[in-house]
């Protein structure tokens, strides 16, 4: 059986185009490895957050971190499953350099039957000097349908956590 990571490597450009927002902000795949993904957003004037500094918006970094984390989870799975972000914690270390592309490396370091745990770093030039770092948790086998995360959490007996 083809693992998601092999499929993702073959279909890298299409995988991103399948997500309209990822395609809209121009996300690109740099590399996909088992449980690891590196994605990039090229600098564009309409993605700037603070016109005084000319730096890409924090929100773009948020979207890139979220997406790259999700891709690393996919690359860690043995079979395709729908996933949903449960939470995402982002620390902003420093502003990105003006006019620079942003890259993001995410590593899915733990998979349980229901949850995937991910760490990620976003950087402009040097991975050792990150712009932002993130820690995320994803629900696995999230049911398709309207309240994805909710129904998945209810299936885990965690219903009250989302409907207090």
């Amino acid at each position: 059986m083809t693992r998601p990571v092999d499929m993702m490597r073959q279909l890298a450009p299409q995988v991103l185009l399948a997500s309209p927002h990822a395609a809209a902000i121009g996300m690109e795949v740099v590399s996909i490895d088992p449980a690891e993904a590196v994605l990039k957003v090229r600098f564009r004037p309409d993605l700037v957050g603070d016109p005084d500094t000319g730096v890409i918006a924090g929100g773009v970094v948020t979207a890139l971190l979220d997406h790259t984390c999700g891709q690393s989870v996919m690359a860690a799975l043995e079979r395709y499953q729908a996933i949903a972000t449960l939470d995402l914690r982002i620390d902003y270390m420093r502003p990105a350099g003006p006019g620079l592309d942003i890259l993001c490396r995410a590593h899915c370091y733990k998979l349980t039957r229901s949850v995937a745990f991910v760490r990620a770093q976003a950087y402009d030039l040097d991975p050792a000097d990150p712009v932002a770092t993130a820690q995320a948790a994803f629900m696995l086998d999230a049911n398709s349908g309207m309240n994805t995360a909710q129904s998945a959490m209810q299936a885990q007996g965690l219903g009250p956590a989302v409907t207090p």
């Binding site: 309209p20 927002h21 700037v48 449960l86």
Partner: protein
Amino acid sequence: MTAAVDLNARLAEILERIPYARYLGVRAELAGDEMTAILPFSQHLIGNPTLPAIHGGVIGAFMEMTAVAQLSVSQVSASTGLVRQPRTIDVTIEYLRSGRPQATFARATIKRAGRRIANVQVEAWQDTRSAPIAALHGHFLIAPRDEA
């Protein structure tokens, strides 16, 4: 009276000045000192076309922008003379429900605003405010005029 007019104009100006806010299509409305941010649905916000659902990153970015806009129009910034955009230090985003392809709203509550750091909570919802689709809790650096 004039203060309210000024705040509305200031809010529009703040959002208009952020290219990424224009790109997402974020608007905001003020009722007194209470601000509601609005993210009208648009196809380019979709993350998962099979559900379909709005991209989680977009919802996170929208809530972060709501916090920044609320800080910018609040009395806090008026008294400290905020001249620079608040900078995000950290955010924790909880995803509660998938964002359906329709308008999303958000409101921010400034839990505490100190001299340099503000602690802000944001909730985003679609049909029902009591059934939020996501929440954000973050810290922001608000630099007073003399440090800007």
